[in-house]
Symmetry: C2
Subunit: 574 residues, 2 copies
């Protein structure tokens, strides 16, 4: 018998490493230790199991060729032993053993290893508020919880649900409750936006609007203060502002690395509690590897270690562990943090840094925004999408891209292309020339991501002067916020004239795009002109022209009305 | 008045450069010279106009905000003068003038320039065969031809059409004829596959099968020898093998650069007739720029100049011309040749080099193929896709990626991500870690492009030994082609047993994937085992295991039955 490989944790990174190392070293004895009885499942599929898109939980534990990944499967097909229902208690690094306990019997034993992998994953953060232990309060920590939630809904025990946390899992669960089951659903998010740190405000606002349009209540900037119950059962959630009735509360307030066993064994742990590993996924003990939600990884944009608990990364890291255990010096260099999410009929995606994060990290960051067609504008399935590029003004390096559009793979296409490019350190100019495959059913001749780079290029070189969306919306709420501003609406008169009538010619001037060159002398010159069109593109053209006739006190609203409508303004009479 | 900018050619690169330079230098006098009366149109949209997806030709000449890009539009909105119906006859470089002729009146005049751009595009290659001048024979050279074709079909003058040329335009036209109008349609391609040099044989075969399944006849390896007519009207096409009746013949046999005016002016021209430009799109005369289908560009994979007549590149190049004319030193470094095409319910895409081209270019090239799920296998809309990676064995650099799958943006997502990565010189290992945004509705935790890189990695390191598809199909046609081969079918018995019954136990052995570890002693050891599963993944696992029990005489069919079925085998009884 060859080397003894022991892997603690059987969900994503663990099984991937186990199968890979066994393939590479068939004589190795590979053992997975897993405290749960259900393992090797697609945790990211839980919202789709709860919604009913996936009818049976076993599908989440199956291969693409429809075999359930149970103990027999691992033994027979993979040659890997799974000790499920077995908890790893401690690591004895000197003697190279893992002390384990049978969860059912309490029986303890030691398992020797030559190489060990810690893939203990993460646990949901439990908010320290009263009522967290009431019946009907759930986290999405494992498949058992998911089964119980779905069972309660299917037995019609749930009329009203509250999700605490507006991150991806929380929003996906909210969609599952509402869309398939018609449960009255609310989301409570402590931060002033959903998906904080993942996308910036305009994009989170587009998502929030779409979810509200689909009858999910979303309360932003509200902390959950108490979960209320009667007779031990949850009846509602109290925030700083209100009490929301609920039969079911899901806490989706983020996750924390499960690193206790590593810490107790004296392995190096990061300040935020994740296991520290090198590019080969080795911990501070070279015969112990770690991967998945329990480790920190390099953020390839900031060059700093970060916590990125994503199933796709866990699999990549797991393969690198398997390789290295077998003597192949593969590396996992880090991540840029690609993200994508379905929400009813739309999707939202991001990669790299948001503007908020980029600024906090000290970049000289700015943002370009555009709202182009997702394919040739004459193709029947064309739709408007919104994209944003975060870039560093000094180096012109692209730091991140965000996208929002109809459900489908069109946003993925841009986010994925951007992710690879950002990994390689691409600049705005690189993105301008990024070669998106073009045919009218798939893209525009100038693809939305190229168009986005052009906006960034014009911004970066000072050719495009823009107004911030927040400032613009504040002015629309109350013109006195910027008394010197006047809107210059260059859309078709059918769209612009109603705005002039509503807001008055002192605040809203309408000259069509193609008449400005003839009629620019009509424009007020003692005011700042806020140039408005549908996407921002024509506005930039007009700004460029007005410069040449010495009307320089102008700003462009990037993304224009296409973006405003998705954010959900209620004042456009057009 | 500022500089005089003259641009010859008004379809894609020309108008892009004109508008860009005018925005940057508002005092410039920018003039487009265009021989046609219709200009600034999306030529790639012609098949969709002919099919009826786009109802009116003016939509191809409109902006996304529904203004027709006619002379007035260019003048009023863009500040650009278009002299349409005006042919550029010659360039006088010494005096910096362009001699032009009014097409209608024949009147000649000289237009002076400070900077000149040649954007004369391409012309269709006219096959030198008899009958090319018959009524009913068309090329897709401009919008007038498209209008006339559609008009004939709409007036029900076309029952049968033949397309000469199985490139993208030919196939898109064939779909247009068949899908929307029900015209009996054939495609004749001289090469032994459609999309030659763009994709390799397996992928062209998948596309051919799908088009044939949709009742488009495709004749491969057949040259068009004569177009037959009666009374001056086309009645059919004669190839080396047959005569096909037709009321309409479309010649789509490739395009050639229109570079005569540049050649006559003494500018440097490539051996294949394209205008030579540097990264700033300057010709050998620094005050003359060129862009679009009339120039050659750097292929970023081979490092050699190549001809890449694509509308998306024309726009990028045009912007670079505009920048440089205005003193901004932008560059267009070249292309990798991204390609995507819709065909009925599928799409096919490619970027970088095909295996054929890579080998011809002298790379130590090999190919990895896989047929995974396009998203989480448990997600309802999941479908099998086929991907291929061309790589250099010595450097491990990825040279190209091809994909085939259901119509949508899922193939684009992988092709686009690959294009950016290939541009940056990414290796197989980079592709293994390429961070595709993951959620079950969009991708698998191990995305298909990561899985593809893993196959390439295993191949490159000699861990995976594969059989070529052509060799395998030849053996299936006639077992005597490889008398020592035996298929090892590891699929479910429901799938494998019928094959054993059909082909006999001497040629077809069935042991399920998850029983091999127990039953490998049943396998014949005096034969070469060709391991077969659905995608190739399980076959590799089994090959790895069999190595360890000293059964090394095995080969894997990458892509497995999922790929075979798409190519269109007729012998699988399962």
């Amino acid at each position: 018998m060859g080397q003894k490989i022991v892997i603690v944790g059987g969900v994503a990174a663990g099984p991937k490493a186990a199968c890979r190392v066994k393939r590479l070293m068939q004589d190795a004895e590979v053992t997975i230790i897993e405290q749960d009885t259900l393992f090797s499942y697609g945790g990211c599929g839980i919202p789709y199991y709860v919604s009913g898109d996936v009818s049976d939980e076993s599908e989440l534990r199956s291969t693409s060729f429809h075999m359930v990944r149970n103990k027999d499967f691992f033994k027979d097909a993979k040659g890997v032993i799974v000790k499920s229902g077995t908890r790893a208690m401690a690591i004895d690094r000197k003697n190279k053993t893992v002390q384990v306990e049978d969860v059912a019997s309490g029986e303890k034993s030691d398992i020797p290893y030559d190489s060990l992998m810690i893939a203990t994953g993460s646990r949901p953060f439990i908010l320290p508020i009263p009522g967290a232990d009431l019946d009907g309060v759930f986290t999405i920590s494992d498949l058992h919880k998911a089964i119980e939630i779905k069972d309660r809904i299917a037995r019609q025990k749930v009329d009203k649900a509250v999700v605490i946390g507006g991150g991806a899992i929380g929003l996906e669960m909210a969609e599952a409750f509402k869309d398939l089951w018609g449960v009255e659903t609310s989301v409570v998010e402590f931060m002033p936006q959903v998906l904080p740190r993942i996308v910036d405000k305009p994009f989170s606002s587009m998502l929030t609007k779409h979810m509200r349009d689909n009858d999910v209540d979303i309360f932003l900037g509200e902390g959950a203060e108490e979960i209320i119950g009667v007779d031990g059962k949850v009846t509602g959630l109290r925030t700083g502002n209100r009490t929301i009735d609920a039969d079911l509360v899901v806490m989706a307030a983020g996750v924390r690395p499960r690193s206790e066993i590593a810490a107790e064994a004296g392995l190096q742990i990061s300040p935020m509690g994740a296991i520290v590993v090198n590019e080969r996924m080795q911990t501070s003990d070279p015969s112990i590897y770690a991967a998945g939600d329990c480790v920190e990884v390099m953020n390839l944009v900031t060059g700093k270690k970060a916590y990125a608990p994503l199933g796709s990364l866990a699999n990549k890291e797991g393969r690198v562990v398997g390789d290295n255990m077998a003597g192949i010096p593969s590396t996992f260099k880090g991540c840029v943090g690609s993200f994508i999410m379905k929400a009813f009929d739309v999707c939202i995606g991001a990669t790299g840094l948001s503007l908020d994060v980029a600024l906090a990290e000290g970049f000289d960051a700015d943002v370009a925004l555009t709202a182009p067609s997702d394919r040739a504008h004459f193709f029947p399935t064309e739709a408007v999408v919104c994209f944003q590029m975060v870039f560093d003004r000094r180096t012109r390096r692209v730091l991140g891209v965000q996208g929002f559009g109809p459900m489908g793979d069109g946003i993925s296409a841009r986010i994925d292309a951007a992710a690879g490019y950002i990994t390689m350190g691409a600049t705005i100019e690189d993105f301008g020339n990024l070669e998106m495959a073009y045919a009218p059913p798939f893209s525009a001749a100038i693809d939305s991501i190229n168009a986005l780079a052009y906006v960034a290029d014009n911004l970066c070189d000072g050719r495009l002067r823009k107004v911030g969306i927040d400032n613009f919306l504040a002015w629309m709420d109350d013109f006195s916020a910027e008394p010197e501003w006047v809107a210059l609406d260059i859309r078709h008169p059918n769209e612009a004239t109603p705005c002039v009538e509503k807001f008055g010619a002192g605040k809203w001037v309408a000259v069509p795009y193609n008449e400005i060159r003839k009629r620019y002398r009509e424009l007020p010159t003692d005011k700042k002109l806020i140039i408005l069109c549908d996407a921002g593109t024509r506005s930039f053209e007009i700004q460029s022209f007005l410069n040449s006739v010495e009307i320089r006190n102008t700003l462009v609203l990037s993304g224009g009305f296409s973006m405003l409508r998705r954010i959900g303004i209620d004042w456009d009479p057009a």
